[in-house]
Chain length 271, copies 2
């Protein structure tokens, strides 16, 4: 690898703007890397759609990033990581990282009683991707997985910790409480914002794993191994491309990123 | 108009499968009409997206129906009816009916105290389309409009009348209760399934207007005026095209249509 390629940006894509949590983690772990973000806000969400459609969308999203000369692609969307990662790796010849493996690794490390709960969109849970990733790392862990799609709508409405958020968390998570999990993997970019409500409904303290940070560490390791880390010491800007400038993107984006989004562009997808 | 054109199907499109409520009403009001339905399940929902993106999608959806030789297009999606109807009428030379006008007409007819509430997606409410349609019919009606996006997620989860549905209805609708509306316009295809929970949170009985049925009556009137009503007396089949066969479409579809969906095809959109 040449020095020139190390200067290229990291590409991150997501079904919408939830993937900004991964951008936030990347800024912390890899502060000198330029980032190009693509959020498919025109077709969001992916999590309620079929594996075929999600894969088709993910291929277009990745191609958009490759056209911006990225050195690595991070799939911040759990649904896309669950169903499309192999296909993406077959199609494109550059390092591609999903959120599933890093999340699974962290959950296996965190559990003491070897009972891990996984929550996510329907596409993520139906795929069984987290179970497979966890079992590859450790055979004797019990994994209890449950789709919790309404959590996304709660976060988008800004209802993180009100009565309704707690009621929804109670209804969704009571089967996992009965299963006595000690670790819960948040298998969707939106869920970390509900962390407090989720913890509240469990009678004991549980370990909550957010794959975003783990994925940033994985990216750092791979860049170092490949000699692709940017050696410049200037904090570069992030470019945000969204397929739709939805009425809410800037408000919701700030919640995920922690700061306001600058340099946002509307981008039509390649056919 | 020729007899031949009267035999052509009615086209109905929606962002997803919520528009099947309109199909259900059409089957009742116009039992001898053939129907071609297009649901854009790959890009659903529309209601959280920008007017530009919704209009672009709506033009593609209508074109898909025109390629199936329809004699009329019904826009069953409130968000698309709110922001794209004029543009659709400019583009295509055939009768096009949205759900806004029929809904507004029914609400104006229903109210006694001239205070009408309107709830819908963000796109529908931000557009002000219902207010404009109501004011065109009656100057001295007060219209109080509120986006209630989480209602869609509740219906898709099948939570119509549980504790959470009631809590969400209470939180969303308490400003409308204070405004003493006597009529509530359900400005989204999903909301009729929450009718009972919505009525429960109002202290007095209110008139709840569902635009689906009104739209079917409007279609009947227009077909009669144009001499385009099918004179055959055989109950024809409905053809359903969906841009994605999502894991849930058949279950949710049955809730909206009242019967199971037969003859469903996956359809890619024209570019």
């Amino acid at each position: 690898m040449t020095v020139k390629s190390a200067h290229r940006p990291i590409g991150v894509f997501d079904s919408g703007i939830g993937g900004l949590t991964v951008v936030k983690a990347l800024r912390k772990i890899l502060p000198y890397e330029e980032i190009v973000y693509f959020g498919d806000t025109a077709r969001v969400p992916y999590g309620s759609k079929s594996p075929e459609t999600i894969t088709q969308f993910a291929l277009q999203d990745a191609k958009f990033l490759l056209n911006r000369n990225v050195k690595m692609v991070i799939v911040a969307c759990h649904s896309a990581s669950s169903v499309a990662l192999d296909e993406l790796k077959r199609h494109f010849n550059l390092p591609i990282i999903g959120v599933i493996e890093p999340g699974a690794k962290a959950a296996v490390k965190a559990t003491r009683n070897k009972r891990i709960g996984v929550i996510g969109t329907q596409a993520t849970i139906l795929s069984g991707a987290y179970e497979r990733a966890i079992r590859r790392l450790c055979q004797d862990v019990e994994v209890i997985a449950k789709p919790t799609p309404l959590f996304v709508a709660l976060v988008e409405e800004g209802w993180y910790d009100n009565k309704i958020a707690l009621e929804v968390a109670k209804l969704y998570l009571s089967p996992l409480i009965k299963e006595q999990i000690d670790t819960l993997l948040l298998g969707c970019t939106h869920y970390p914002l509900l962390k407090r409500a989720i913890q509240k409904v469990f009678p004991n303290k549980i370990r909550i794993v957010d794959a975003g940070l783990e994925t940033a560490y994985e990216a750092k390791e791979q860049l170092e191994n490949l000699g692709l880390k940017n050696r410049h010491r200037k904090r570069p800007a992030i470019r945000f491309y969204l397929s739709d400038l939805t009425p809410n993107f800037s408000e919701i984006g700030r919640r995920f990123l922690g700061t306001s989004l600058e340099d946002v562009m509307r981008a039509s997808l390649p056919e």
